[in-house]
């Protein structure tokens, strides 16, 4: 490792730049405190207690001996992350940051799956519960209807065969905006239309028979 120490100019200026964060003063001005230092924004200074009218009433100083040392240490080490545009530099004979080969220890952290019965059953119980509700409702409806319906045109065709509906629709063959209120306001119900032959379909409320 190169043991060449920093040049005097750099030492003087790093001292000034670190000092910029600390120099200045805080004093009691009458009953109020006045500040003329950036150190009030430095967390290492201590703990301020806010007072009236936005002033600070009390400060409990921290361990400044340690914190000031740490400030310059952190400042110096942070220069490693400096992003300089070297094309703007003219009077320099070296650079602020250099690359160095060092041994690095890398740790691979694989994804690990751990079995937990409670977590597993939380997910499964939700899925099974919702599925069971669907199965029960679907089974009951299948029992009531006696057949599994489809969303096909044929299904619509057979469930709307009803002379009463034909009569209601008479004269409204074009549909669309020409539909009459008679058709629009007709109250229909799906159910057992003709008990004798077990025909299910749409009809007026008084046409549909109970299947119970």
């Amino acid at each position: 490792m190169n043991k060449t120490f920093w040049g005097p100019t750099n030492l003087v200026y790093i001292n000034i730049y670190a000092g910029e964060q600390l120099n200045g003063l805080i004093w009691v001005n009458g009953h109020l405190q006045s500040e003329k230092t950036a150190a009030t924004k430095w967390p290492g200074l201590g703990q301020w207690t806010p007072g009236l009218f936005g002033n600070f009433s009390l400060i409990t100083f921290a361990d400044l001996a340690t914190n000031v040392q740490d400030l310059l240490t952190n400042f110096t080490v942070s220069l490693v992350g400096a992003h300089l545009n070297t094309s703007q530099l003219s009077n320099v004979t070296s650079t602020l940051v250099v690359n160095q080969n060092v041994p690095a220890v890398s740790t691979f952290r694989p994804v690990i799956y751990a079995y937990d019965a409670v977590t597993l059953w939380e997910g499964y119980a939700c899925a099974i519960g919702i599925t069971m509700i669907g199965v029960i409702v679907g089974g009951y409806m299948l029992y009531r209807n006696g057949v599994a319906g489809e969303m096909t045109f044929s299904q619509v065709l057979v469930t709307t065969r009803n002379p009463t509906l034909d009569k209601i629709c008479e004269g409204d063959g074009v549909g669309g905006k020409y539909l009459t209120d008679r058709v629009r306001k007709a109250k229909l119900k799906y159910g057992l239309l003709e008990p004798r032959i077990g025909k299910m379909g749409l009809g007026t409320e008084d046409e549909i028979h109970s299947t119970g």
């Binding site: 120490f5 040392q69 240490t73 992350g81 530099l89 009077n91 070296s94 740790t107």
Partner: protein, 165 residues
């Protein structure tokens, strides 16, 4: 776990480098880093050169403070008037209990190291921080790209007469 040679950024030996006081772009960047470190009270992290979970150690020379608590200001032998010319900063309005905090950069002389002088807690405390050349051994580790830095600092010689650069 694997060990491999990795290229990492380290602080250059700033022996002939004049940038910290001369080159405007360098000064701006360094001052901004100083403000960031002060506000965050920690090392400003840099991107991992070795992956999300890794660690490495490097050494470099740099400046460091050695701070000593000297106790109540009035019991010290520090004569502010004598050293006033070497101080960089705002002068204290009065040296009495109304002075809660006062800090100045001390550029030092032939017999007094450069550094910082801080009087605080109504003159009940005097902190003198001397500037040293030091060797840093810095261990950097990343866990899920979160950086942690630990420094081991070996102090060498104090810096005298900093103003005579």
């Amino acid at each position: 776990m694997s060990i491999s040679n990795t290229t990492v950024p380290v602080l250059a030996p700033l022996d002939n480098f004049m940038g910290l006081g001369v080159e405007r772009p360098v000064v701006s960047v360094v001052q901004a880093i100083g403000q960031g470190v002060s506000a965050g009270f920690r090392v400003l992290p840099w991107a991992s050169p070795c992956g999300a979970n890794c660690s490495y150690t490097f050494s470099f020379v740099g400046p460091a403070y050695r701070c000593v608590e000297l106790g109540p200001f009035l019991s010290t032998s520090i004569n502010i008037t004598e050293i006033q010319d070497d101080l960089f900063g705002v002068s204290p309005p009065a040296l009495n209990s109304s002075l809660l905090y006062w800090a100045a950069v001390d550029n030092g002389n032939e017999t007094r190291p450069a550094g910082l002088l801080i009087l605080y807690d109504s003159l009940n405390h005097t902190l003198k921080c001397d500037l040293y050349n030091a060797t840093y051994t810095t261990a950097v580790s990343y866990m899920n790209n979160e950086q942690t830095v630990q420094n081991n600092i070996e102090l060498h010689n104090p810096i005298f007469d900093g103003i005579q650069y």
